[in-house]
């Protein structure tokens, strides 16, 4: 009975703690968003953060996109061959990339490449008192450092996801049309007949915007909330990657349920 009681109170404690964290994190993000006008007044800050979050993630996104496309093309071809409809491989590659794999995989890669770097950067700035120093110079770190990092991530993510999907389709084309010899006309025309701009491409872009916002918010929050020691920062980086991955997958389920079920 007492064991049951302690377990229940532990559960209660955990729930209260996580709700508290969620509340603190949301207040933090609203604060960042409220101080975001600097991004428009000084676009250079935003450009620098888009370089940090976007350009530095380009290589991993391009290479992974290409390989995911190659694998999809190969697997899709092997499966569709049994039904004699290898022409549909373009449809399979394009739909899986545009709807799911593009936004999700690029968000996971983005979290581990750019998200962790954002957390580490803010955490180290906190540990070495750079943020305090900024405050004492009457410069608001929320506006000067965190808001540009957040928006840099939010804006980079959809572009990275689009590049990932495009590279994947090119990869699928290379393996099935160029290497295996599927008819190029069938590949493109079947793809074009079934990929809808509003239903598939636009929804994919919406997904990547949501994921980019979530990952960027988690990254800046974990950095700002990190314990200012070397160990604290490394733990915060781990939390960023883990929380981001879970958030992306959970949000993907919710968004997919809203977007792709029902009619059609």
């Amino acid at each position: 009975m007492t064991l049951f009681k302690t377990m229940l109170s532990k559960l209660g404690r955990k729930t209260i703690d996580s709700l508290w964290t969620l509340g603190v994190a949301s207040t933090f993000i609203f604060r960042v968003i409220a101080r975001s006008s600097i991004v428009i007044r000084r676009p250079n800050l935003l450009v620098a953060e888009m370089h940090f979050a976007g350009v530095l993630s380009l290589v991993i996104i391009i290479v992974s996109g290409l390989f995911v496309g190659l694998v999809l093309g190969l697997q899709g071809y092997e499966t569709l061959k049994r039904y004699g409809s290898t022409g549909a491989v373009g449809t399979l590659v394009a739909l899986s990339l545009v709807r799911e794999l593009g936004p999700v995989v690029s968000a996971l890669l983005f979290a581990s490449r750019a998200g962790s770097a954002i957390t580490a950067e803010i955490g180290i700035m906190k540990t070495t008192e750079q943020l305090s120093a900024m405050e004492m110079m009457a410069v608001d770190p929320y506006a000067r450092v965190i808001a540009p990092m957040f928006w840099g991530g939010v804006l980079s993510m959809p572009l990275l996801a689009a590049i990932f999907s495009a590279m994947g389709i090119i990869g699928g084309y290379l393996i099935t049309v160029v290497v295996i010899g599927v008819d190029s006309g069938a590949f493109w025309s079947q793809m074009q007949a079934s990929v809808d701009f509003h239903h598939d491409i636009l929804n994919g872009v919406i997904k990547s915007v949501v994921f980019g916002t979530a990952v960027s918010a988690i990254s800046v929050y974990e950095g700002y909330a990190s314990v200012p020691t070397a160990e604290g920062v490394s733990k915060a980086v781990t939390r960023t990657v883990v929380t981001s991955a879970l958030a992306v997958l959970a949000l993907d389920f919710v968004l997919t349920a809203f977007m792709f079920t029902g009619a059609h």
Binding site: N44, V47, A48, M50, H51, G54, V55, L58, A94, V98, S156, P158, L159, L160, A162, I163, S165, A166, M167, I169, W188, M191, Q192, A193, V195, D196, F197, H198, H199, D200, I201, G204, V205, A263, H264
Partner: protein
């Protein structure tokens, strides 16, 4: 790093991203679906629509002339009601007929329109009178077997 170098790289990145989006929209998707052209709604009743779904293409002579807007069931006629959204630039005589066809043996179903010979054209809200239901494969096979059996019995 110099600011001009950062600016250049971010410029390349944004251009690549936009190019990728355009590639997805124009090369992977179909261009027509981006611009939702003005259309008019025409309804048709079928005994059986098989696996026809909303957004399936409507074709005439093999050309896509519109999309299925929605599918419902009428309590009065006890038949399926299919609303077709036809492109304004395509006009069909009032006595045209609609049939549900299948692309290939197992492919997706679509609505085919055979133009009639009337002088007046179909207007928004009109009904296509002559319809032909989907061919349901199980029924066809059933009829085929039934026919074979009655042939045997006749011997």
């Amino acid at each position: 790093m110099e600011r001009s170098v950062i600016d250049l790289w971010v410029g390349i990145f944004v251009a690549l991203g936009i190019a990728a989006l355009l590639f997805l929209a124009l090369k992977a998707g179909n261009v027509d679906s981006i611009i939702k052209s003005e259309g008019y709604l025409v309804s048709a009743e079928f005994d059986n629509i098989g696996g026809l779904k909303a957004k399936a293409p409507v074709k005439s002579a093999g050309v896509i002339v519109g999309r299925v807007d929605n599918v419902s069931f009428s309590n009065q006629s006890l038949r399926a009601v299919v609303k077709l959204n036809l492109d304004k630039q395509f006009q069909f005589p009032k006595d045209s007929s609609a049939s549900i066809l299948t692309s290939g043996l197992l492919g997706d179903q679509f609505v085919g329109i055979d133009p009639g010979g009337a002088l007046e054209n179909l207007q928004d809200g009109d009904r296509v009178r002559i319809t032909q239901s989907a061919i349901v494969l199980e029924k066809v096979i059933g009829q085929f077997l039934y026919g074979k059996m009655s042939e045997k019995n006749g011997d």
